[in-house]
Symmetry: C2
Subunit: 246 residues, 2 copies
C-alpha cells in the first residue's frame, strides 16, 4: 500500500493563507500519510523578539541553550500544535510528535566540525518505523516537528529534510513510500530562474553528470543527495517540487 511522507518548509506553515491551503491539500491526499514540517522563520522571529541573536552557518542554525528553548517552543509547540488542531478540524487524525515522543527518532549531538560547534543540533541515528507504522495502521497521521533527542534527556534541533528522509526510510519496510519535498521552486531546474528548464526525472547516474556539469549546485546538492539515499534505502520515489501539493 502506498504511503506519502510530505515535508513542508517553514515558509508554508508560517503564513496563514498557505497554511490553510496546505491543510486542505494534505487532508485531500488519499492513503496513509505523514507530515514533517519546518519552522525556521518563526523561530528566528521569536528569538529576535526575545533578544536572542540567530547565527546560521551554511544554512544551519547554531543552537545554544537559549536557542534550543526557542526552537522547542516554536517547533514543538506553536507550529506543531497549530497544524494538529487545524488537521483535526479537517477530519485528519493528527498526532504531533518530536523524536523524543515514544522515542520515535533518536539522534546524537553533532560534534564540532571545522572549528564550528553547532550546539544542540542532532544528527539522526534511527527512526522507529515499526511504532510509526502501527500508529498509522490505526488511522493516526503523525505530524513531526524538527526536534529529536539523544536518549540522555536532551532535545536536539534537527534538519527537517533529514528527518523526513529518515522517517520515509523507516517506513519503507511497511509501505511503498513516496517522499515529497514541497518547497518554493517547481523542482530541480537547469536554470533556477526559468521554470521551463525543470528536470522532470533524475537518476543516480543523471545526478553525477548534472553535478559535474555544475547544473545542480548549492543547496540543491544535499537535497538531491538525500533523495537518492532514500531511494537506495527502499523509498519508492522522491518528489522535489512546488509548495502546492495537489
Amino acid at each position: 500500500m502506498g504511503l506519502t511522507v510530505l515535508k513542508v518548509g517553514g515558509a508554508v506553515v508560517e503564513n496563514a493563507e498557505s497554511l490553510a491551503r496546505l491543510i486542505a491539500d494534505f487532508a485531500a491526499m488519499e492513503g496513509p500519510k505523514v507530515l514533517v514540517h519546518g519552522g525556521g522563520r518563526s523561530a528566528t522571529a521569536m528569538a529576535t523578539r526575545l533578544g536572542i541573536e540567530t547565527h546560521m552557518v551554511d544554512g544551519r542554525r547554531i543552537t545554544d541553550d537559549d536557542m534550543l528553548r526557542v526552537v522547542t517552543m516554536v517547533y514543538g509547540g506553536l507550529v506543531n500544535k497549530r497544524i494538529v488542531a487545524l488537521l483535526q478540524a479537517a477530519g485528519v487524525n493528527g498526532l504531533g510528535l518530536t523524536g523524543a515522543d515514544m522515542d520515535i527518532i533518536r539522534s546524537h549531538r553533532r560534534p564540532p566540525k571545522g572549528g564550528i560547534d553547532y550546539g544542540w543540533v542532532g544528527d539522526v541515528d534511527r527512526a522507529d518505523g515499526q511504532r510509526l507504522a502501527s500508529l498509522i495502521r490505526e488511522g493516526v497521521v503523525p505530524v513531526i516537528a524538527p526536534l529529536t533527542h539523544d536518549g540522555q534527556g536532551h532535545l536536539l534541533n534537527t534538519n527537517a529534510d533529514t528527518m523526513a528522509q529518515t522517517v520515509a526510510c523507516a517506513l519503507a519496510p511497511y509501505y511503498r513510500v513516496s517522499l515529497r519535498y514541497a518547497f518554493e521552486k517547481r523542482g530541480v531546474m537547469r536554470d533556477p530562474d526559468d521554470p521551463s528548464t525543470l528536470i522532470p526525472h533524475i537518476t543516480e547516474a543523471d545526478f553525477e553528470r548534472l553535478k559535474a556539469d555544475g547544473i545542480v549546485s548549492g543547496g540543491m546538492v544535499p537535497k538531491v543527495e538525500n533523495a537518492l539515499q532514500a531511494i537506495r534505502q527502499g523509498v519508492g520515489e522522491v518528489l522535489i517540487g512546488e509548495t502546492r501539493i495537489s
Copy 2:
C-alpha cells in the same frame, strides 16, 4: 490493574531541581501511569518577556490571541517536550500530548460569564479513554499539557486539574484509577499553616460538613469538588498532597 494519573503544577516542573526529582519519582512509580502538568508561571514569564500582559480572574488566565500563542508554545512545546525527553532518559516511554493530538480531549470555548470573556479558554467535554488505554497497554506513558481543542481548528487553554480529572474518569472503565494531585501543601488541612492539622480522609459527607464549617474554603473547594466528582465517575481514589510523590 491499578493506574496512576499524576497531576503536577507549574511550580514543580519549572524548577530544574524539583523537575529532576519529579522525573525520578515518577519513573520509580510502578504500573501504568499518566502525567498531567501545568506551566502557568513559565507562561507568565514568557508573556512578560514578549511584552504581553497577563490578566488573571479568579486564578484563571484571560487568553487572548497573543496569550494563546504563548501558552501553546510554553505548555505544548517548552514544558511538555522537556519532560518527555527527561522521562525517556529515565526509561519511561513518554508521549507528549495536547487534547488536539489524536483528538484525545475535546472542549468548547467558555462563553463569557458575569461580563468576563476568558478568551481562548476551554471547558472540557470529553476525553478518549479508549485511545489512551490502548496506548498505555503498549507501554506508552502519556504526558499531557493543559491545552485542548474545539474540533474547529482552535486550541484552547484548559485547567490542568480539570484535565487530570477528565483523563482519570475516562480511564476508569479500563483500570482501577488513582488520581493524585501533587501540590505545595501536604493536603487538605484544618489550619492551612499547620501541617499537623492534615485531614487524612474526606468523604462526600465529610466535605459538606467541612465546607459548612468553613474549614475547607477558597481554592481548596473546587479541588475537593473535582476530586469527589471523579470518585462519583468511577475513579478509585483521589489523593491531594505534597509535591514529593514517593
